[in-house]
């Protein structure tokens, strides 16, 4: 090719790829701008602390906020021990090139790809109809007690969904703990579990926290898995026990957007709800990014 053509082709390829990157960022900016523009004026202390009124046409979103928080809290309590221990097995206990470890990795990678609606079906089929029914029979409840949609089952469903997130980030955190720390601890006579509890896990803590935050951010935004496992359209009361239904920011968004009798009247409410949900997930993501960069900088300066 001639020199000039090479330059032209090169320049156009570079600008084409640059344009693609720009378009992606522009799409993000468009979504954010639209949400902020539509929602910012309607967010107030009252909006955050009041219940919906007038058949969802007025009032605030407090029950949805509360439900989302309670749901993700239960989910975190359930997913963290299992996820962290699985990662500990993969990185600390599994023999190198072990068959079980490879199988676990394949399973986790596939679990991450299962559609969220299938998790919803799983929650219904396993937790509610199998575990819940079994519990009701074992505990002698006459009417439905556990075998109905509730916050516990929804949070456990989300825990299964976010398990891969926790495992992957914990393993990355464990990988960042230098091998020297482990050998030094073992050489001083500590057992493997003592090394794990006092050296490895504290060293990996920021990374593990990042995993928790990412899991919460993912779990707080998922709607499909909780559609049939506990989310409710409208409830006069906050969830009071593990088997009560709950309101949820994401589900509230879905309901306001698709089932409102008067779209124009609910539009400000809808935008404000979306903005709260977005702020929540972005704040969580930001925390994760900050923890991560701080640990990376620390690790870089420490060695």
């Amino acid at each position: 090719m001639k020199h000039a053509t090479r330059r032209v082709v090169g320049l156009s390829l570079v600008s084409l790829t640059g344009l693609a990157a720009f378009v992606i960022v522009a799409m993000l900016a468009l979504v954010l701008l639209d949400v902020v523009q539509g929602g910012a004026s309607h967010i107030s202390w009252k909006f955050l602390t009041e219940s919906p009124t007038d058949g969802m046409m007025g009032g605030g979103i407090f029950p949805a906020l509360f439900g989302t928080a309670a749901l993700t809290l239960l989910m975190t309590v359930a997913v963290m021990p299992v996820g962290v221990l699985t990662a500990v097995y993969l990185h600390e206990y599994a023999p190198p090139d072990g068959k079980l470890a490879r199988l676990v990795r394949v399973a986790v990678a596939n679990l991450a790809g299962v559609p969220s609606i299938v998790f919803g079906l799983f929650g219904l089929g396993f937790f509610i109809l199998f575990v819940g029914k079994g519990l009701d029979r074992a505990l002698g409840y006459e009417e439905l007690h556990w075998a109905q949609p509730g916050i516990l089952w929804a949070s456990l469903t989300l825990a299964v969904l976010t398990l891969p997130v926790v495992i992957v980030s914990t393993e990355e955190a464990l990988r960042a703990v230098p091998l020297d720390h482990r050998t030094a601890s073992l050489a001083l006579g500590a057992t493997q579990s003592q090394t794990l509890a006092r050296v490895v896990l504290p060293g990996a803590l920021p990374g593990i926290l990042t995993g928790a935050v990412l899991a919460i951010s993912r779990g707080a935004g998922e709607v499909a898995p909780i559609l049939f496992t506990g989310a409710a359209y409208f409830l006069p009361d906050l969830p009071s026990s593990l088997n009560s239904q709950f309101m949820h920011l994401g589900y509230h968004t879905y309901v306001l957007a698709t089932q409102s009798p008067d779209v124009e009247a609910t539009r400000p409410l809808l935008y404000a709800t979306v903005m709260v949900l977005l702020l929540l997930t972005f704040a969580l993501n930001l925390v994760a990014v900050l923890i991560r960069t701080r640990t990376r900088r620390k690790a870089a300066s420490g060695h």
Binding site: V35, L85, A107, G113, P115, I117, V118, L124, V223, V274
Partner: protein
Amino acid sequence: MFDRQAVMQEQDLAPPVALPMLSPEARRRQLKEKLIAWVITAVAFSGIAALVLILVFVAKEALTLVTDTAAREEASFSKMFLPQMVRKGKPLAYVWQPVSNVPKVSMIPLFIGTLKTTAVSMLVAVPLGIFGALFAAEFAPRRLREILKPTIELLAGIPSVVLGFFALMVMASFLQETFGFTSRLNAVVAGLGLALAIVPVIFTVTEDALTAVPRSYREASLALGATPWETAWKVVLPAAAPGILAACVLGFGRAIGETMIVLMASGNAAITSANLGDSVRSLSATIAAEMGEVVVGSPHYALLFFIGVELFIFTFVLNMLASIWTKKVIQRLKGGAG
């Protein structure tokens, strides 16, 4: 933590040494270590167990389609996948109308709906994701790249219900005014909404594959007189090709299974047509929309779980393909760079 006897047996040449007597406390400690290792190994099965339980329990609820005679009658496989008579005198057709006097349970309209939205989203997201990643990995100055990557990860962090809301409230009206669609919610709107969700997936995985290409490849190409774009296009891109394919397959899998965006923006009418401007109903949205009103144990209920099994199998196969291709690119680059 070492099994002393095993170590002894391995070193045949070492003279036999009498094992020192362990104090009761040391023995207890050893036992405790073994117990802890055992517990951790047991917990590690949870990932495998979750995957197996998902398949088993979703399939279990769909099983009535095979075991129950009434359900077998109402929703046989031929009724699901072959054209059926809808009305006397009319040509055979594919219709999804599970709640009616004569339930019609053809899955073909749902497959077509899923394919249409997925195709639109891939058409937009694949070029955007790959070219964007190429820019980030090869051409962007370091500063810009360090801003670009977290920004696109932020896009990945937007909940899908928010993207569905955006597609429904903003994009739908805009696209209808621009292209004059007869139905406001259609395959194009849902597909573009989906594209927002899968662009970050394709971008991130492609970028990883591109940065995995060793620097020596680029240096060799530049030393031979190739320009940076020639290096990027003819050396780096082909070297990372299986990884990029994996990125597309992962994006495809995500698009097939994504529920909220399609549920909110596709119009949810099970129409069998090739027109992208028609409303569509996807497999995932069908489950989400109909599970609320269905009678537990009815053929319709089993059908929805059967759709879940189909989705599970599709995404499972796609994921396995993606992981095989990702491994391929790592192996190839390891072998080539050595």
